[in-house]
């Protein structure tokens, strides 16, 4: 028996000193309403049944836990398993949250859905569930991202969503999020904001984590079946941090399991072009939450960089900030080039083309595996597939050749 169980957030939505609700007063009422509805449905069997049916029949869950034989052989150390969120409908874990939240929106009686997106995976997932449930969908996307993820823009439009390019600030995910929040402040009466990661004001980080935790719960059951034991390591990439929270959360009380969150080091930590928030940031207040933040000495948010649009974010989920401070999760980073190499490695060794976001988690295996033992188990969360990144991969691998 554990003496002390991990239990966050507190009633006010704080993860230690992080989290909370730093938003304009207009949004307090809808946040309270969202929290009330969520508390009601959380333990409501009919809601959970409906969601499980959708996961199963629409999204294709449970996703497999694949033994990566040739990758294991490549390192000749611990056994490597892959949690295959890339096989979810729409190609990434983002659908888990989108399905949960669209059911919440229905309960709230909201007719219009808005979302922000970076890589476009969350935007596609939201546009998909809106198509399925017949709700109007508006997706905010940084102009820079609409260019590097043009395939996903087209997909969203095909799904009937209106995609609004955001031209303010750095024209990436952070600005798309600002714009989505501004839309929500304006259209709060009929609109639900489906935020895409474990970020934003309370209760969002908690709700998104809970909807993503299905990744970890399935993993726990699957590894018990296959190996009759729990893993030794969990590895996941961290931008906002939803796929990582999803796989980590159900294991947080299993204290012997080591968890590693991999951030984007971009061109390198010694440059200004990275998104390694937990590695190099410090406490700040951003997008409604207190959390680690990449900011200059005056408190202005830095423009960040990652080859993967989904990790290109100067903040991070507040729960990760706590998990870092209490040393429950170790946060590391890998560069753009390392991620590209890892994309090749995974594709050649396992026949799985990972998203560039996911490739960051895979790249860290180069550092992790040498210190593991043959009888240990490492599980990597394959948060999404890489079809959307083919243009970027072709451009960049072409360059280095």
């Amino acid at each position: 028996m554990e003496k002390k169980n991990y239990q966050f957030p507190d009633a006010a939505g704080h993860y230690g000193k992080y989290g909370g609700k730093f938003v304009p007063e207009t949004l307090i009422a809808p946040l309270q309403e969202l929290e009330e509805i969520y508390q009601l449905v959380k333990d409501d069997p009919s809601f959970q049944f409906e969601l499980m049916q959708l996961h199963k029949d629409y999204s294709g869950r449970p996703t497999p836990l694949t033994f990566a034989g040739r990758l294991t052989k490549h390192f000749s150390k611990a056994k490597i398993y892959l949690k295959r969120e890339d096989l979810c409908h729409t190609g990434a874990h983002k659908i888990n949250n989108a399905l949960g939240q669209i059911l919440l929106a229905k309960k709230l009686g909201k007719k219009r859905i808005i979302a922000e997106t970076g890589a476009g995976q969350h935007g596609v997932a939201v546009a998909t569930v809106c198509a399925k449930f017949g709700l109007k969908c508006v997706v905010y996307m940084g102009e820079v991202d609409t260019q590097r993820q043009s395939l996903n823009v087209f997909r969203m439009k095909l799904l009937g969503a209106e995609v609004i390019p955001v031209t303010s600030g750095s024209k990436t995910l952070k600005d798309a999020t600002n714009q989505a929040i501004r839309d929500w402040v304006t259209n709060v009466k009929d609109t639900h904001y489906i935020i895409g990661s474990v970020v934003g004001p309370h209760p969002y980080p908690m709700i998104v984590r809970d909807f993503q935790a299905i990744i970890g719960y399935e993993t726990k059951e699957q590894i018990q079946q296959k190996e009759n034991r729990l893993p030794d390591y969990l590895v996941a990439c961290v931008g906002g941090g939803s796929n990582a929270m999803g796989i980590f959360y159900p294991f947080l009380n299993d204290k012997q399991i080591k968890m590693i969150g991999v951030e984007a080091a971009g061109y390198g930590l010694n440059t200004t072009k990275h998104s390694a928030t937990l590695t190099l940031g410090r406490e700040g207040i951003f997008h409604g939450m207190k959390t680690y933040l990449l900011q200059n000495k005056d408190g202005q948010v830095e423009e960040v960089h990652s080859i993967s649009a989904g990790l290109d974010y100067p903040g991070v989920g507040p729960e990760h900030s706590l998990l870092k401070d209490i040393s429950r999760v170790k946060y590391v980073s890998v560069t753009d080039d390392e991620a590209l190499e890892a994309t090749k490695l995974m594709t050649e060794r396992e026949g799985i083309l990972p998203a560039l976001e996911t490739a960051h988690a895979i790249a860290y295996l180069n550092y992790l595996m040498p210190s593991t033992l043959k009888n240990e188990i490492v599980i990597v969360n394959i948060s999404g597939r890489g079809d959307k990144d083919l243009n970027t991969i072709i451009e960049n691998l072409g360059k280095t050749k």
Partner: protein, 261 residues
């Protein structure tokens, strides 16, 4: 000090006119001159925005001015310096407006102390909710007011709580939305304002967001103690209108604030 000043204006049966300017916009070198002109033209108070890279309560106009100010190299120290200079020539209330990260990064103790020393009488932090207030505001000074915002979506209970905590006045956000994106008010907006004003008993209530003309002021002046105009002024500056033309716009607004029922 702010409260007393507002009471003096309303005792003359006038509405308070508060004008928002972004610190160092359009230019750093003659911002103090612009601020003085606006005050001379009849503004009762000045709100000075300390720019933040991610102003999520602001519409495109103030976003643009904040971004330009940052590009002009405007820092929090500059804003304090502007206040010092303006204070030499005017006794009217000066209020800082900025986001929580700017304040917490500077340190709340240091912010309250330095802002107050430089001549500011209070601060408005649009993303500091009542829920976070106690943990955030760990240092206060008698003569430096933390002004809170109330909105049409706030519950009655919450408006009463906001009114109890707010000092200086209550900033009533008259429409849902960001700054400067709406023009004029629906009957629904006005009846919400009317209803909410009755709940506010500890403070005077100034209305902001969506007020861009004398007509707008006429629409709501029976239901508030004053108005705050920001984006409409900034828009003129973006369009390169002269400071004199901005000043005459301010005079015209203040004239409307003097019309007695």
């Amino acid at each position: 000090m702010i409260k007393k000043y507002i009471e003096e204006v309303t005792a003359r049966r006038e509405k308070v006119l508060s004008i928002f300017l972004t610190a160092g916009f359009p230019h750093k070198n003659d911002f103090v001159h612009l601020a003085e002109k606006v005050l001379q033209a009849g503004a009762d108070m000045l709100e000075i925005g300390i720019p933040f890279s991610d102003p999520l309560a602001d519409g495109p106009v103030i976003q643009y001015s904040s971004q330009t100010a940052l590009e002009n190299g405007v820092t929090i120290q500059d804003a304090f310096h502007f206040a010092e200079e303006i204070r030499k020539k005017s006794d009217k209330p000066l209020i800082a407006m900025t986001y929580a990260n700017i304040v917490s990064n500077y340190g709340i103790d240091k912010f309250v102390t330095d802002a107050s020393l430089s001549g500011f009488n209070g601060v408005i932090i649009p993303d500091l909710s009542l829920d976070e207030y106690d943990k955030f505001i760990t240092f206060q000074k008698e003569d430096f007011d933390i002004i809170l915002l109330a909105t049409p979506t706030s519950s009655e209970k919450r408006i009463i709580a906001l009114d109890e905590k707010s000092k200086g006045f209550v900033y009533y956000v008259s429409v849902t939305g960001t700054t400067g994106t709406r023009n004029g008010f629906t009957n629904e907006d006005i009846s919400a304002m009317q209803k909410n004003r009755k709940l506010i008993s500890q403070n005077k209530m100034l209305a902001g967001f969506g007020i861009s003309s004398a007509e707008n002021i006429l629409q709501i002046q029976d239901f508030c103690d004053g108005v705050i105009v920001g984006s409409a002024v900034i828009k003129k500056l973006i369009n390169n209108e002269s400071y004199d033309s901005v000043a005459s716009f301010v005079s015209e607004l203040k004239k409307t604030c003097r019309i007695r029922e």
